[in-house]
């Protein structure tokens, strides 16, 4: 219908008009990859939200995925926390990604992961938190607590489940699965299970690039 088309055009031309079907803008931090930013609900990693990562194997691409954002946070003088990383983050590689090592803090004890993450969030001082909890500690209640704590702060919280760990039903803003070879699936976006699942694929993990879903 030409008349409704005109109306649509008129309405969408106005920048000061907010319509119910649009979502209010979510404050976010760029992922450092334009292609990925476009696909995420807020145009980047949402601030003050819990982001769940489900890597298929350890070291399958989670660090590569997060490093641009983490490095940017440290360069702005904000501390970044690694809670119980499963392997040793290589300092030479972190510096190559322009991460300021003086701003990086690592908690090596795995049993206090959720507690430490909550303390850091409460302080409101951290730029980003990446936690690798033990599968046994992952319970709906602790994830829920963490999510509530995250909402008081400005920092994105990345919860990286151990491979094979069944994540509890949670209200995380984003849930991403990282498949071997560096393919990325958005299992859950801001709109619940996103109908337009993004598939990020890469010839290798070093540069993640988007590819339209076939």
């Amino acid at each position: 219908m030409p008349s409704s088309n005109t109306l649509e055009q008129l309405l969408s031309a106005r920048g000061d008009l907010w319509r119910g079907r649009q979502r209010p803008p979510v404050p976010s931090i760029s992922t450092g990859r334009a292609a990925l930013d476009q696909q995420l609900p807020g145009g980047g990693w949402p601030r003050g939200k819990l982001i769940e990562l489900l890597p298929e194997r350890v070291g399958v691409g989670e660090m590569e995925l997060l490093l641009p954002c983490l490095a940017e946070q440290t360069r702005q003088g904000l501390p970044v926390l690694f809670l119980a990383p499963p392997l040793i983050p290589c300092p030479q590689s972190l510096v190559r990604h322009k991460l300021d090592l003086t701003r990086l803090l690592i908690v090596r004890e795995q049993q206090y992961t959720f507690w430490a993450a909550e303390q850091c969030l409460k302080s409101g001082l951290c730029g980003a938190i990446v936690a690798w909890p033990a599968s046994a500690d992952v319970r709906e209640r602790s994830v829920r607590r963490l999510q509530l704590a995250a909402e008081n702060g400005q920092a994105p919280v990345f919860l990286c489940y151990a491979p094979g760990c069944k994540p509890p039903a949670s209200l995380a803003a984003l849930r991403l699965a990282i498949r071997t070879g560096g393919a990325l699936d958005v299992l859950r976006g801001q709109r619940g299970k996103s109908p337009d699942t993004i598939r990020l694929n890469a010839s290798n993990v070093v540069s993640l690039t988007t590819r339209a879903r076939s």
Partner: protein, 475 residues
């Protein structure tokens, strides 16, 4: 400008009881009949009672067995002279914030307030502030002032203030002798001589007084009336903070222990204030009653300073995982401090100190995960990848040298792998090092892909062993 000396005395009615009550856990029912007993000359007598015990008919001077017969529910604790002495020192520490001339005189604390009068305007303001401080410590105290130190505590017991010497002399001469701090034996002697008031004693010729009553008593009377100077040993806050608390009732409950620690922290706070120092480290030792292993809690502070609630929280975190085997009977608290005191900078809007929030967070994390558990990461100048990194204290790192491409993750130990299932992509990078420390190594590093497309960092070892190993992951 010389000022007229004025001494303020602080006395604690029921010192023995108050000293013990401070050490009892918070939830101790104060409505219970409570008494303090002491053994003098082989007989155990009640020396102080609380109101509930008094109502039951227990009174000071009673033999303990009699008191227990009258009131079977009576709690009686043995007198703790050390605790009493510490109580006086606590008061002295508080008083030291008002005057540099503070002395502990047997039953109380005296401080010179004449010199501080100008600072506080009127004496009332000073005494009011002092009384508030003492009340905040949870103590019941009485204050009194006199121009001579020996009389200050006497007046404090009666809550009298007398700034002028002639008026003091007049007041004292009217007092019955029982109001003075005299030993019971001396009182009996004076009574048997028919002397009831101080003026009766003063009426005696000096020679007669010395001969009949002894020089010590005459001297005491001269001191309180200001005819003679009182030698005072001025009290000074200790150089080091070191407190030992004997708990009257051994306890295994951590809440009760934390309550005690809170009391000690309160003292530490005053000590730091009067010595103008900041805390850097605190050590707590808990001695169990059966000579079992001593429980130690140590914590260093990321930033020198003192925040009682925060410190208490850290101690609570440290105490939580400790499983106490038996009841704790004494606590020892030691503090390390520095003279540098960073000026506290409070945030204009929230009133909280933003500068120390980060060190506070680090302290809290460290309290739980341990000093080792919280760290940064730094590079080491060694070509062997397994020796090219180290954990470093939080917030520190070292300069990183330029290296060829490294993976994001290093495996703690290289893992043997099957080269057949991998595709070599880039390399080799020859690393030959360690001949100087007996770990001579020769390897060729490659970047490889596995069947799933994961990028690995692998090496072919020639020395000391041989074979293919995975050493890192580019993910």
């Amino acid at each position: 400008m010389p000022h007229e000396a004025l001494w303020t005395g602080i006395v604690c009615p029921q010192t023995a009881m108050q000293a013990l009550l401070r050490l009892l856990p918070e939830d101790f029912d104060l409505e219970d009949a409570l008494a303090v007993h002491d053994t003098v000359g082989g007989r155990t007598r009640v020396i102080e009672v609380n109101r509930a015990a008094h109502r039951l008919g227990v009174h000071a001077g009673q033999v303990l067995a009699d008191a227990l017969a009258i009131a079977p529910g009576l709690h009686s604790l043995p007198r703790a002279r050390k605790a009493e002495q510490r109580l006086l020192e606590e008061i002295a520490l508080r008083a030291y914030q008002y005057s540099h001339q503070v002395a502990i005189t047997g039953d109380g604390v005296v401080l010179e307030t004449g010199g501080s009068r100008r600072l506080h305007g009127r004496l009332d303001t000073l005494l009011g502030a002092l009384a508030d401080d003492l009340a905040q410590m949870g103590l019941i105290t009485r204050l009194g002032s006199a121009p001579v130190p020996a009389a200050a505590c006497l007046l404090a017991r009666r809550k009298r203030h007398q700034a002028k010497l002639p008026a003091l002399r007049k007041l004292l001469s009217e007092w019955p002798l029982a109001h003075l701090a005299l030993a019971p034996g001396e009182l009996r002697k004076l009574d048997s001589l028919g002397l009831k008031h101080l003026r009766d004693v003063q009426a005696l010729p000096r020679f007669e007084r010395d001969r009949r009553l002894g020089q010590a008593l005459t001297r005491y009377l001269d001191e309180i009336t200001g005819h003679q100077q009182t030698p005072l040993v001025y009290w000074q806050p200790a150089e080091q903070f070191h407190q030992r608390l004997e708990l009257p009732v051994p306890t295994i409950r951590s809440e009760a222990l934390l309550f005690m620690l809170n009391r000690v922290l309160e003292q530490l706070h005053h000590w730091l204030q009067v010595r103008d120092r900041s805390l850097t480290r605190i050590e707590v030792e808990m001695h169990p009653e059966d000579q079992g292993p001593v429980v130690e809690l140590r914590t260093g502070l990321g930033q020198a300073g003192f925040h009682r609630q925060r410190l208490l929280e850290i101690l609570r975190l440290k105490l939580e995982p400790v499983r106490l085997q038996s009841a704790i009977e004494s606590l020892v608290v030691r503090a390390e401090s520095t003279a540098e005191q960073p000026p506290p900078q409070a945030d204009l809007w929230t009133g909280t100190n933003v500068n120390d929030a980060w060190p506070a967070l680090l302290d809290r994390l460290k309290a739980r995960v341990g000093e080792e558990g919280l760290c940064g990461i730094a590079a080491c100048s060694d070509h062997r990848p397994e020796k090219s990194w180290k954990w470093s204290p939080p917030g520190t790192t070292t300069a990183v040298c330029e290296t060829p491409l490294r993976p994001n993750w290093l495996l703690p130990h290289p893992k043997p792998c099957q080269i057949k299932s991998l595709t070599l992509m880039d390399g080799p990078e020859r690393i030959e090092a360690g001949w100087w420390d007996g770990q001579d190594t020769r390897r060729d590093y490659w970047i490889a892909h596995d069947r799933h497309g994961n990028k690995l960092w692998i090496f072919h070892e020639y020395k000391p062993g041989s074979g293919w190993f995975v050493h890192g992951l580019f993910g």
